[in-house]
Symmetry: C2
Subunit: 283 residues, 2 copies
């Protein structure tokens, strides 16, 4: 099935889902939406974001060839568990969740009429909700595609076409690798920013400059969203904490003794080079 012939239902019309709806406009045969908040459903219809919207999954999901979950991790896990009761129709099932191991395990339990595949666009915005929907958030963003052993070639091809259509950069990964890497690059850095903020005396606020603002920024993320992510990627985040402790210990011992100054300078130089090679890939 080509994307232009596909009828798509987006479950969850927050920032990610509503932005996806806007990004997919003109690329598919039909767009439907589901959201648990009646006012969001109303606004989506009002704005013409989708052709039909409802708070009821069972009214929408059976009409779609592709069902996309754009809800928080634990809400998506709950909905996947109920999907077979909600719809008797065949469909490809894709999700946009930030952690993949538990999602893919839940997808694997779906009846054979569902053709599941994991997805994770690495993007976001300071603001949230349908009213801040912006199709540009997907442009140039890495989009992890995480196929299951049971994912059909059709599901993989359609997902690839969707990623291209919204301007994202596809990246094929298995769930374990995805979760280990995102723990390192996203989930743990959030926890670290929170720890930094808690370790900063309030009195020092007048001296905060652009460096601190940058380092601490992600500590302002939505706590319920991050709790879902952290608790479904616990082991990898704990491993990242351990690695941070070790690198911080090394820098601390270099700083403690004035004789180790040369070692500290070398370690900081390695860190600077690592920073440049890590972030330079997209610069």
């Amino acid at each position: 099935m080509k994307l232009t012939e596909t009828r798509i239902a987006i479950i969850g019309l927050g920032l990610m889902g509503a932005s996806l709806a806007r990004a997919l406009r003109g690329h598919c045969a039909a767009l439907f939406g589901v959201d648990s908040a009646p006012e969001t459903v109303e606004k989506a219809a009002e704005l013409g974001l989708v052709q039909a919207a409802s708070v009821k999954m069972e009214e929408i999901v059976p009409q779609a060839d592709l069902v996309i979950f754009a809800a928080p991790v634990r809400a998506t896990l709950g909905l996947l568990g109920r999907l077979s009761e909600i719809s008797n129709a065949r469909a490809i099932v894709l999700d946009l969740c930030s952690t993949k191991a538990e999602i893919v395990a839940a997808m694997d339990k779906l009846p054979a009429r569902f053709d599941p595949i994991g997805g994770h666009p690495m993007c976001g915005k300071e603001t949230s909700g349908l009213e801040n929907a912006d199709p540009a958030i997907y442009r140039e963003a890495p989009f992890a595609i995480v196929p299951l052993a049971r994912s059909s070639p059709a599901a993989l091809a359609l997902t690839g076409e969707l990623v291209q259509a919204i301007g994202a950069r596809p990246l094929l990964l298995d769930a374990a690798t995805h979760d280990a890497w995102t723990a390192a690059t996203s989930h743990f850095p959030y926890l670290l920013a929170a720890a930094l903020v808690m370790a900063t005396p309030s009195d020092a606020a007048p001296l905060i400059g652009s460096g601190f603002r940058s380092t601490a920024r992600v500590a302002g993320s939505s706590v319920p969203m991050m709790m879902d992510i952290l608790t479904t990627n616990r082991a990898n985040v704990l491993a990242a904490i351990q690695r941070l402790r070790e690198s911080l210990d090394g820098l601390e011992s270099g700083l403690r003794e004035s004789e180790s100054e040369q070692e500290l300078a070398e370690a900081l130089t390695r860190a600077r080079e690592r920073y440049q090679s890590l972030v330079g890939r997209r610069d």
Copy 2:
């Protein structure tokens, strides 16, 4: 003495010094510059950044009523130690260094003809050097003023006038408080970003998004500059490392056990509120 009647020598014509020269244009009676690099001296003269420039302190400093050190911390400490040999003239002496305890101690040893006062504008730029000079970096930046017991009311008044003239926000502090606060808000966050980068597997680079870029950004700072800062603010940075370890330990134990989920959510909510109150003051 009013700023408009003051002849100013800026020692060090890198980003900070050259930007200051541009910001002070039209606000003082004369501007002179010193830099250890002959090509920088040449370029400063060529661009008309200052009326006279030299690699030799002794040619410039005796002509100035106000001598401003815009060199790295340890270079400034060395120059302060030689100042009495360099000039027999009276002058107010101000510095722009990122750490204050050692600078102020060195200033305290100057002969009585010098009237020293500490300063620290909290600003910077990704780029460095005279060619990137930008008077706007001082605008709205916090500018710590750190008087010594021996600083005259005239030195304090002139420094205050200078801070106003370049559009910065003056903040009167003692050296110990300044160094403790900047360790928390600037020097330690740099070290933490370096530790984060070292703890991030290179393989994970394709999944790096805007969050990681923001958190890790300061790890790209100049290592020699940061070495000067860290080694002249060692005890405060070590104390900040200890505080970070404690707050990270708390978050880790909340994450480790699924029964502590509520505690973890509460801790992250406190961190989010603290972040908003810390950075919100200037938003």
